[in-house]
Amino acid sequence: MHLLDKALFYVFAGVAVISAVLVVTRRNAVHSAIFLITALLATAGIFLQLQAEFLFIVQVILYAGGIMVLFVFVIMLVNLDVALRQVQFNRQKWVAGIVVLALAAQLGLVIWTAGRIPGAGPGPNAAASPAPAPQLQPNAEMVARSLFGPYVLPLEIASVLLLVAMIGAVVMAKRKV
């Protein structure tokens, strides 16, 4: 059981990382979108493994089913054969690469050494699901109680944000304002 779990994780993680790389490197935006969907679904799988069923389904419905449809739509509206033939990476790519690698090194170091600093929380080898950890079940109900309990104000703000985004998008995409 333990090993199966682990294998699943590595499968999901591998799919996610490989897809992510492909997202960034593909020339065609539609392919990028497809790989992004794959990456998102792999992430959703990881969520499922982490007992976040509700988040899993939200990820599938909203991210994969909603946001990505939007992306695909826009890509199709905007798709230019010209864009395929142009240079895909900008001039700063080498500088950017070095800086990002530096960032990666730093962050990796932070994660790696986190456990050794006293008071900085559990180390990287702490099990993500320690034996006595409280179960996050039934997940949908718990999330709902949390969302409509202590986090009801942020929830309302988020809904206002969505409303604003909706109006903004409509105004932006209108042919004549």
Binding site: N90, Q92, V95, A96, V99, V100, A102, L103, Q106, L107, V110, I117
Partner: protein
């Protein structure tokens, strides 16, 4: 212990009925059918009449000493504390209130009663005119204004009505506004009235400054001492010796107010608008320019009698102006050929009579004549309207004649009215006119003489009119002659009622000398008593029986003489007028051209005003535009050249120097601002990297 009753308590509704229908007509009248318009407008005036009559009856039922009903509906101008000229601190407030006392009862009955009859008459007279709803809307607005004026409990509110009737007069004179002469006449009436109103307003200001109140009286209010009235303030002033009878300030107020009265009541020298006002429809002439509005001045002076009795000089002026106007206008009436203009001059003349009465201190007699005059003059105007109606709109008497049998009702009622105005007993005119002449004789025989001669002239020109219109040979246009017809019932019915009133209307003031008790004067006595008992004693005196009989006989005699003369001139020997005119051509021309007064006014005022305008225009073009504007322009240009130089070299130069310096300094920094999002994002990441380095360094 003020009198009360349903109508008395609701007397403030009286002006509101016509106001409501006026608003309805003027806002939505276009959509209404003529029948509905007549029903609504006449109905509202009838409602006013019913309420007014009810209120007056309930007032009369009260004890003579208590016959005052005053109501303050709301504080209209609460101006707050002020110092009077006498130094007293008063709380000045002008209310929107209603005052019903004997004086205003008479007025309100005359206004609503005659107004109602004339409204009924108008249904027939105006039936075929365009703008029916507009006519009735204006008429009802006039009724509202006039009733406000009459029922006002203070001078300021009276002024509101005063201006309101002026406005309605203007609107109705110019009712046929497509006719140039009508529009001009309206303007003339309005402007001439403004001259008078200026004096009136100045008088009000001076009154407020002197007495600190505009309320006529405090009588009839719940706590009279809490409200100060003009009469009470004057009495208090006399008592405290702050004011004296005949004080210059009182005379000044009285004269200024009288200037307003000369404008509104068409007295010398501001009478000129009234004859022209005959351009309006005949019912308007009857209602506004004969029966009600023009008597507003008389009413105002009578209402302010407390003040006038303390200003004998001003009263003297009133009397002289009245007498002069009476005879002046009467002579003018001799030579006019337009039927309505004759009546207009007659109105001016009769108004002169009223002012003569007021001037000699016979306030009650003046008001009495006002009332009787309202009856018979309204009748005369309505009758003339009926005549004009009959001869297809012709107003020139030279194209009438021999109408007696063709329009019998009109002719008979007209004859009654003519007899009444001529002063034949026992008709109403005789009673009131004789009262005035009697009072005038007591005051000054000279004034009596003027009035006496005027009475003769009045009889002459009235019967000249009657003879030229109804008797003799017909000179009617043959085309129009075929259409001559008696007017409809709605027009003759008011004529008959008014004729009856012209006969019996005077009997309530039947003189003591002829065995009467002069109820009218007794009824008005509480109002005309004046501010102080002493002055009142002066006003009420009695002439001897014998003298009274003699005066009556003489005046009846001259009236008969005038009638006979008219008969002789215009029936028996019709060549006489022409010969008389030919033998004194200048006099005739003078009369015919109305003493050249309009020309003189044109020359003296109108053209001078135009000259002033021209001069001011020249001043504007030459001095203001030339020197002021152009000079300022030149100066500005010169200054701006200097400023340009300064701007270019100093201000801009400095700016440029700063700009160049900044640009030079900014070159090294510019390459960072690429405007490309990716590079900004790179800087963010770089910042994070450096931040983490710093954080790690410090944590270490």
């Amino acid at each position: 212990m003020t009198p009360s009753g349903y109508f008395l308590d609701h007397v403030w509704l009286v002006p509101l009925f016509p106001l409501f229908t006026a608003a309805l007509m003027l806002l939505a009248g276009r959509r209404l059918r003529n029948g509905a318009v007549s029903a609504l407008c006449v109905g509202s005036v009838a409602a006013s009449f019913v309420f007014a009559a009810g209120a007056v009856l309930q007032l009369v039922a009260a004890d003579p000493a208590q016959r005052v009903k005053q109501m303050i509906l709301f504080a209209w101008v609460p101006a707050g504390p002020m110092h009077t000229a006498a130094g007293r601190l008063v709380d000045f407030v002008a209310d929107w209130g209603v005052l019903l006392d004997p004086l205003s009862s008479v007025m309100v009955l005359v206004v609503t009663g005659v107004g109602l009859l004339i409204h009924i008459y108008s249904i027939g007279y105006m039936g075929h005119e365009g703008g029916y709803y507009r006519f009735f809307g204006y008429m009802n607005l006039f009724m509202f204004s006039m009733l406000t004026l009459v029922l006002a409990n203070n001078l300021l509110l009276l002024f509101v009505g005063w201006e309101g009737v002026g406005l309605c007069s203007y609107l109705l004179i110019g009712f046929y506004f497509l006719r140039r002469s009508a529009a001009d006449a309206g303007k003339k009436a309005f402007i001439v009235n403004r001259v008078g109103d200026t004096g009136f307003l100045l008088g009000v200001f001076l009154l407020v400054a002197t007495l600190g109140t505009v309320r006529f009286t405090s009588a009839g209010l719940p706590v009279p001492s809490a409200y100060s009235g003009i009469a009470q303030a004057l009495a208090a002033g006399i008592e405290s010796h702050a004011l004296a009878a005949g004080a210059p300030v009182l005379t000044a107020i009285a004269l200024l107010l009288f200037v307003g009265a000369t404008g509104k009541s068409a007295q010398l020298p501001l009478y000129v608008w009234l004859p022209d006002a005959m351009e309006g429809p005949t019912p308007v002439s009857a209602l506004i320019h004969a029966a009600t509005m023009v008597t507003a001045g008389v009413y105002m002076v009578a209402r302010m009698n407390a003040l006038y009795q303390l200003a004998p000089l001003a009263l003297e002026v009133v009397a002289v102006v009245g007498a002069a106007t009476a005879i002046f206008a009467a002579t003018l009436g001799l030579a006019q050929n337009d039927i309505k203009r004759v009546l207009a001059y007659s109105t001016i003349s009769q108004l002169g009579y009223m002012f003569l009465a007021l001037g000699v201190g016979a306030f009650a007699a003046g008001i009495f004549h006002l009332m009787t005059h309202a009856f018979f003059k309204a009748l005369l105007f309505l009758g003339s309207g009926s005549v004009i109606h009959a001869v297809s709109g012709e107003q020139d008497m030279r194209k009438m004649g021999a109408l007696w049998s063709r329009i019998p009702t009109t002719a008979k009622t007209f004859l009654i009215a003519a007899l009444a105005i001529a002063g034949i007993p026992p008709l109403a005119g005789f009673v009131s006119k004789d009262e005035i002449l009697g009072k005038a004789f007591e005051h000054s025989p000279l004034l009596w003489l003027v009035g006496f001669v005027t009475a003769g002239l009045t009889a002459f020109y009235m019967f000249r009119l009657v003879n030229m219109t109804f008797f003799g040979t017909s000179r009617v246009d043959p085309e129009a002659a075929r259409h001559i017809h008696e007017s409809p019932r709605s027009m003759t019915m008011p004529l008959v009622i008014l004729a009856a009133l012209s006969v019996i209307g005077g009997w309530i003031g039947w003189p003591v000398a002829l065995g009467g008790v002069n109820r009218f004067e007794r009824f008005l006595e509480p109002v005309t008593r004046g501010a102080t008992p002493e002055t009142a004693a002066e006003g009420v005196a009695h002439h001897t029986m014998a003298g009274g009989y003699a005066l009556m006989a003489v005046s009846v005699g001259i009236a008969l003489a005038g009638i006979w003369l008219a008969y002789a001139f215009y029936i028996r020997r019709r060549e006489l007028p022409g010969r008389v005119a030919a033998s004194w051509p200048r006099l005739y021309r003078l009369l015919y051209r109305k003493y050249y007064v309009d020309e003189v006014y044109d020359a003296m005022f109108v053209n001078r005003t135009k000259d002033l305008g021209t001069a001011l225009g020249a001043f504007d073009a030459g001095v203001v535009d030339g020197l002021g504007v152009d000079g300022a322009g030149w100066l500005t240009r010169a200054t701006s050249r200097l400023s340009i130089w300064w701007d270019t070299w100093i201000v801009d130069g400095l700016v440029n120097v700063v700009g160049r310096a900044v640009r030079a300094l900014s070159y090294p920094v510019r390459w960072v601002q690429t405007g490309v999002v990716s590079s900004y994002a790179l800087f963010i990441v770089l910042g994070i990297v450096l931040g983490i380095v710093l954080l790690g360094y410090r944590l270490h």
